[in-house]
Symmetry: C2
C-alpha cells in the first residue's frame, strides 16, 4: 500500500488494507490520478506513514517478499494468538506457505505442512515443519482429525476445505489466505456448529502490523527464500511461476531495468 484516506474507521484502527480509498502498490489509481506500477516502477511516491523500516540484519532482496507473503501469513498467526504448544497446520508450500512455516515455528508452534507432493517433505522440514502430511491420503487426514488449533490455508485455487475444518480442535480456525471465490465442494456447517469452529479469511495486514512483522523477522533472522532475476528474465520467471517452479519467490533486481 502507498496511501489511504487516513480518516475512516479502518484507517484509524490501523487496518488501512480495508480502506475504500487505499492505493495499493500495484494497479491502483493514486491520489494524483496516476496508476501505480509496484516493482516495475522506476520511482514510487508514497505517504510518509506508509514507509517501512527494514531491519538492518535482513538481506534487502530476501526481505522484499515479506511485505506480501510475510504479512499475509504473520497477521492471522498473530490474530489467532499462536503460542508455544499450539498445533498449527499450513496447507500448501509456495511463497505464502514457506513464510507461514518459518513464522509459525518462530512463534513456538508445533507445525505441520499439508501438501499433495511427497517431494516437498524435505523442504518443509528445512523451513520449520515438525510434521508432513499428504493431504490427498484419506488415512493420513483421518489420523489428524480434531488436532489443530489453527490451519493457514495458502492454496491459491479452489479446493475442498472441509477436511481442514475436520482437522481442527473445538473452537479452532481454518484461515484462507490464497483463494478468493466459490468454495466447491460446498462447506458443511455441521462441524462448524457442533465444534464451534471458524472458517475465516485474512488479507495482508495494516502498516503498523507490517512493521511489527518486519521487526519480528529481524529479531528471528527470518526472510524469504528467493531467486533474484534480471528484469529481462521476467517472461522466463513468469512461466516458472505458472509451473510452481520457484523456491519460493522471484525478486527482480531493478538496477537491471
Amino acid at each position: 500500500m502507498v496511501d489511504s484516506c487516513q480518516t475512516c474507521e479502518t484507517c484509524k484502527n490501523d487496518r488501512e488494507q480495508y480502506c475504500p480509498s487505499t492505493a495499493f502498490t500495484y494497479g491502483s489509481l493514486d491520489r494524483d490520478g496516476s496508476r501505480t506500477y509496484g516493482g516495475y516502477s522506476k520511482t514510487i511516491v508514497l505517504t510518509e506513514k506508509f514507509v517501512l523500516s527494514i531491519p538492518e540484519s535482513l538481506d534487502l532482496a530476501a526481505a522484499a517478499p515479506l511485505l506480501c507473503a510475510g504479512i499475509t501469513t504473520y497477521s492471522p498467526l498473530r490474530r489467532w494468538g499462536v503460542r508455544p504448544g499450539w498445533k498449527v497446520g499450513v496447507v500448501g508450500l509456495g511463497g505464502l506457505g514457506h513464510m507461514a512455516l518459518k513464522l509459525a515455528k518462530a512463534m513456538g508452534a508445533n507445525v505441520t505442512l499439508f501438501s499433495r507432493s511427497q517431494e516437498k517433505d524435505e523442504d518443509a522440514k528445512r523451513l520449520g515443519a515438525d510434521h508432513f502430511l499428504i493431504s490427498s491420503d484419506p488415512e493420513q487426514m483421518e489420523a489428524v482429525v480434531g488436532q489443530f488449533d489453527l490451519i493457514i490455508d495458502t492454496v491459491p485455487y479452489n479446493h475442498d476445505v472441509n477436511p481442514y475444518v475436520t482437522a481442527l480442535v473445538p473452537e479452532g480456525s481454518v484461515v484462507l489466505v490464497g483463494y478468493f471465490g466459490p468454495l466447491e465442494p460446498t462447506v458443511n456447517s455441521a462441524p462448524l456448529v457442533l465444534r464451534s469452529q471458524n472458517l475465516a479469511g485474512s488479507l495482508i495486514g495494516g502498516i503498523k502490523e507490517t512493521q511489527e512483522m518486519l521487526d519480528f523477522c529481524g529479531q528471528h533472522g527470518i526472510a524469504s527464500d528467493i531467486e533474484v532475476i534480471n528484469a529481462q528474465d521476467l517472461h522466463y520467471a513468469y512461466e516458472r511461476v505458472r509451473k510452481g517452479d520457484v523456491k519460493y519467490r522471484f525478486v527482480i533486481d531493478i538496477t537491471t531495468l
Copy 2:
C-alpha cells in the same frame, strides 16, 4: 448435559459440550447404561458439577429454555465480545432468535433482526431489536453491506449465508447456531479473504458459562417468552412447532404427566 468425563482437555477447559463422553440431557447413553429422556423424565440423576442454580428473580418455567436457546446465543455473543456500540444482527425470530435479541440488547449492542416476514417487525422491536430488515429484499440487504460487527444466524434449515457475510464489517463474524449441513448456495471465500471475515459456528456452552448466562439473565430480568402446556397436549404443540407457530418456546408442566 448431565455428565462428561471430567478428565479430557475440553472438560478441563470448561467446554464439556465437546467431550467425547458427554451425556446430553436427552437421547444419550448415561454412565450406568440407561438412556436419558430429558424433559420427559420423571427423575434425572446427574453429576453434581452439572447442577445449575436458577436465579430466584426468574420464573422457573420461563427460565427452562435458557438452558438451550439462552446459552446457545449467549455463548457466541460473549465469545466475540459484544459491547455497547457494536452492531449485532440476528437472523430469524424463533426460540433462538428471540433470546439473541434480548441478550444482545442487554449487552448494550445496537440490534437488527433479519427476517423474511414483515409481520415479525413488531415483536422483534418489543424483544429488543432497534431495527428490522426483510432479508429477502435485495435493496434492504444492499443498504447494510459492511455494517455488522457480528451476526448470529439462527435459521434451522439450509439458506444462503453469503449476504450475511457481505453485511459484516472487516474482521466481522457470522455465527451459525441453527443449521448443521451442506451450505447451498456455496460459500464464496472472496469477502472472507478480502475483508478478513469469519464464518463460524457455535454449540451451546460449557457448564461454567451456562451458570454465568443464568446469572446475567437474573441480573437483567431476562427469560424466555413461553407457552406452558400440559403433557397431554404434546402432539398439538408439536404440530404448532412444525408450523413455526410458537412464541417462542413451549414448556411442558411435568406435574401433568
